[in-house]
Symmetry: C2
Subunit: 464 residues, 2 copies
C-alpha cells in the first residue's frame, strides 16, 4: 500500500516536556521506533518521533495534554498486531505504548465481568481467570492487548457464539484528545442511559481517544468442549452446512473453514494427513449432553451436504492438536513460498452469499497466478486470505493489490463489508467510503467534534 | 415530573410548507396533538403544534429540511409507548409520526436478517415471519414500533438470551437534522468498518436524527419452548437461583422475578392461585433435549435455594396462560388502587447486588407508605417498579418521586445504571449526569456536531 502523504509536525518541544514527565520511559531509539512504527501486515510502516510508555490514566492524560498543546500527533499502541497499517505514524509524533499498563484491576466473578488496564493481553487475562472457572472468549489469533482489541473491534474464531468486542466490552476509560479522562458504560449488563459512547470508541482505532481501561463481560468455562474436523467434497457443501447449522440455532462456538489450498499448506507445515479438500473445523461448548447433541445435529447436516467422517477430540491435548492446524494456518501459508511475505486481508458477507463470494475470489486468485490460501470464520460470513508474495517484485504486490480491490468490491456488491474484523487503518479507507457513503461524512463530523486538531492517530479510518 | 421550560419557536411558516407537502397528512387537530404529546408514563406531556404522517425516507427528509430551515423542533413518534417523557414536544414544533411507514422491505431467511420501515411493530413483524420459522425476539411488553424500539434501545423479557436492540440492530437508515439520508451498518453479521454509527443512533431517542428503516437480526423459532414458574421462600433465594443459572451458562431465554406484592396483585387480577411469595418465571428455548436439560439444571439450582415445585407448561396455550400473569402485571398493579395512575420506572445493577438493591428498595417503599409492586428482568439485573399513585394528591406524587430518586442513587452506588431499558427522555436527565459524569459532555459534543440548532427532540437525554 502506498503510504498516505501527511505533513509532519515538529515534535521537538513536545518531546522535551514528555522527557521531563517520563524520564527513560520516553524513547527515541531507532530500534524502538522501528518496532512501534510497523505492524505485522504488509502495509508500509512510518516511524514515530518517540515512544512513550505510560502506566496510569493520569499519565496518559498528561501525555495527551502535552501533545495537544503542541498539536503533535499521538498513536496509541497495544501489541502492534493489527493488520491494516493502524499504527504507522503517518505524521510522526508520539507513539503511546500501553504495555506497562498491564494490571487486572477487578474481577467480579458473580457478575461475570472484569476491568483491566489496556495493556493486559487476552492470554494474560485468561491465565488470571482460569482458577475461577471463567474465560474471556474473544480470540483474534494474536495475543493482542485488550485495549487494542477494543480499539479495533476485534473478534475471531469464537465470535459466532460469544460475539465480538462490540458485544463484550461493557465500558471503557478513554483519554480524549484534550486530555480529559472519561468513563463510558458501566457494569450493568444492559443500560438505556444516553448515547452508546462505549460502542463509539470500540472500533475507532485510536482516532477518537486513547483507551486506557476496559470493562469486559466474562463467560464461564464450559463444562464440556468438543472439537471436530470434517472434509467436504465441495466448498458449497461446507458452506451449506454452516448456513443450516446457524439457521437451526445450534449454539456452535466455532466454525472455521479452510480451503483445499490452506489444507494442503497445513498438512505440509504441521505434518498432518487431512484430505486436501474444503474442510470445516468445529467446536461445541456446553454441558456434556448439549455438546453431544450439537455434535450429532451438525454431523447429520454435514452428511447431507457431502461431508465425510468427523475426526473428534474432547480431551484438552487432543483438541489443541486438532486446532494446531488452524492456528498455524498463517505460517503454513507463508511456508508455501519460503522467503516471501504475507499480506492478510478480510471481508465479511451475508452467509447466503459466502460460497459465491469465496468461489469467485478463488477463481480470481487462480486466473491471476497468486498464492493466497483462504481461511474463514464462516459462521459469521467472514473470511480471510493471505497473499503470499515476494516483497522484491513490485508487480506481484500490485497484482495482489488489484485482486484485493476486486474482492472487496465483490463483497460489497453481495451486501457485505470491506472488513469483518481487521479494521480500516490506512489500508482500507477508500473501501470504507465505497461501503458507507454519506455515513463517512457523519463519522468525520464526530471526529472533528472530538479531535478538532486531528492529533489522534491521524490518517486512519478517515482521511479527514 | 416538572416539565422542563424550553422556549417555543414559531412553527407557523414551517407548517404552511409542510401542509403543501403533505396535504391532509399534516394534522393540527387538538385530539391528534393530544395523542402525540403524551406517552403512557406519568410524566407531563406537551403538545406539538402539528403532527406529520410520513411515508418514505424522502418525505421524512423533506419534512426535516423544512423544520431545519425554520429551526422548528421535530419529535419522532412510533407508538407513543415510551415511559420517560420521550415524546413530549417541550418546545412545540412538529411531531413526525412514522405509523404509515409500515412495510416489511425485505426478509433474508437464509441470513436471518430483515429490513423494515420504522413504523412496523414487533408483533406485525413476528406475524409476517412466523410462516418462515423465524422470529424477532425483543419484547418490551408494548407492541412498539421497531423504529421506536431502536431509538430507545428497548429490550425486555428475552434480552437475557437474545440481547437488546443494541445487539439486534444490524443497520439503520437515518434522516439527519439537515435532511441528509444516511445508511449505517449493513447486512454482514459483523464488521470493523469505521465508527459504529448504528449503535450511536440506537438509544439516541430521536435527538440525533429520525430512524426511518431498521435492519434487524432474526432468530429461528426454537424447536421446543418450555415455561415454568417457581415460588421462593425468600427474595435472596430467588436471586441466588438467577445468579447461579447465569454463571453456569444455562442459555435461559427468560427469567422474570415478581415480588410477593406483585404476585398478590396478579392473583387478584387474573384470578390465579400462585403462592404470595417472590416468584421466578422461566422460559427455555432449544431442542427438546436441551430444554429438558436446562429445566432440570435450573430445577436443581432452585431447590438448593428454597424454591418450591415448578409449574410447567410446554403447549402454546398453557404457556400463554402461564405468562398471562406476567404480561398483565402492570394492569394488576393498577387494579390494587382503582382510580389511581401508574408511574413505571426501572434501574439495572450487577446481578450480585440485585437482592440487596431490591430489598432496600422494598423497605423504602414500605417505610414511605407507597404501593409499588416490583417485577424484574432479573437475568440482566434489571428491575422495574410501578408507583400506583393518586394523581390528585401532589404529596403522594412527591413521595413517589423522592423514592425514585433514592432508588436510582442506590442503583448507581451499587455499580448500576439509572435505566436498564426505559431510557432517559426528560425524566432521567439529572440521573444520567450523576451516572455518566464527564461522558455527558462528550454526548453533548456529538449532539452539537450533528444537530447544531437543536431541532431534534430538544430537551431529551441532554438538556444541551
Amino acid at each position: 500500500m502506498t503510504l498516505p502523504a501527511l505533513d509532519h509536525r515538529d515534535a521537538a518541544p513536545a518531546l522535551e516536556e514528555l522527557r521531563a514527565l517520563l524520564g527513560d520511559r520516553l524513547s527515541t531509539a531507532e530500534a524502538v521506533r522501528e518496532h512501534h512504527g510497523n505492524d505485522v501486515s504488509y502495509h508500509e510502516g512510518a516511524l514515530p518521533d518517540a515512544v512513550a510508555f505510560a502506566r496510569t490514566n493520569e499519565e496518559v492524560s498528561e501525555i495527551v495534554k502535552i501533545c495537544a498543546r503542541h498539536k503533535v500527533p499521538l498513536v496509541p499502541f497495544g501489541t502492534g498486531t493489527s493488520l491494516e497499517g493502524h499504527i504507522a505514524a503517518l505524521a510522526g509524533g508520539v507513539c503511546l505504548d500501553v504495555a506497562q499498563m498491564d494490571a487486572v484491576l477487578e474481577v467480579n466473578a458473580e457478575d461475570l465481568d472484569c476491568r483491566v488496564q489496556a495493556g493486559v493481553t487476552r492470554k494474560q487475562l485468561n491465565e488470571y481467570l482460569r482458577d475461577q472457572g471463567l474465560m474471556f472468549p474473544i480470540d483474534p489469533g494474536a495475543d493482542a492487548s485488550l485495549g487494542g482489541m477494543a480499539a479495533t473491534r476485534a473478534s475471531g474464531t469464537n465470535a459466532v457464539r460469544y460475539g465480538t468486542m462490540r458485544e463484550n466490552v461493557l465500558g471503557l476509560t478513554v483519554v480524549l484528545a484534550d486530555g480529559r479522562i472519561v468513563r463510558t458504560g458501566g457494569r450493568a449488563r444492559k443500560s438505556s442511559a444516553g448515547y452508546d459512547l462505549t460502542r463509539l470508541f470500540v472500533g475507532s482505532e485510536g482516532t477518537l481517544g486513547v483507551i486506557t481501561e476496559v470493562q469486559l463481560r466474562l463467560h464461564g468455562i464450559p463444562e464440556s468442549i468438543a472439537s471436530g474436523v470434517c472434509s467436504f467434497e465441495s466448498l458449497e457443501g461446507a458452506v451449506s452446512t454452516v448456513i443450516t447449522t446457524i439457521q437451526m440455532g445450534v449454539p456452535v462456538a466455532r466454525i472455521e473453514l479452510l480451503d483445499e489450498v490452506q489444507m494442503d499448506a497445513c498438512n505440509r507445515y504441521s505434518k498432518l494427513d487431512y484430505p486436501v479438500q474444503p474442510t470445516l473445523f468445529f467446536e461445541f461448548h456446553g454441558s456434556e449432553a448439549s455438546t453431544c447433541e450439537q455434535a450429532e445435529t451438525v454431523g447429520a447436516i454435514a452428511a447431507d451436504n457431502g461431508g465425510g467422517e468427523f475426526r473428534w477430540a474432547t480431551k484438552p491435548e487432543e483438541r489443541s492438536q486438532l486446532w494446531q492446524a488452524r492456528h498455524d494456518a498463517y505460517y503454513a501459508a507463508l511456508a508455501l513460498r519460503p522467503g516471501c511475505g504475507g499480506w492478510p486481508t478480510d471481508v465479511c458477507v451475508p452467509i447466503s452469499r459466502l460460497a459465491e463470494c469465496i468461489l469467485e475470489t478463488k477463481r480470481d486468485i487462480e486466473e491471476n497466478g497468486l498464492v493466497a490460501p483462504i481461511v474463514g470464520h464462516v459462521g459469521d460470513g467472514n473470511f480471510h486470505l493471505v497473499y503470499v508474495i515476494d516483497p522484491n517484485v513490485p508487480e506481484e504486490v500490485a497484482r495482489a493489490s488489484a485482486h484485493n480491490d476486486r474482492m472487496v468490491k465483490r463483497a460489497l456488491a453481495l451486501g457485505g463489508t470491506c472488513t469483518g474484523e481487521h479494521g480500516v487503518g490506512y489500508g482500507k479507507m477508500e473501501f470504507l467510503k465505497a461501503e458507507q457513503g454519506e455515513a463517512v461524512a457523519v463519522m468525520r463530523s464526530i471526529k472533528k467534534a472530538l479531535d478538532p486538531d486531528n492529533i489522534m492517530n491521524p490518517g486512519k479510518v478517515l482521511s479527514v
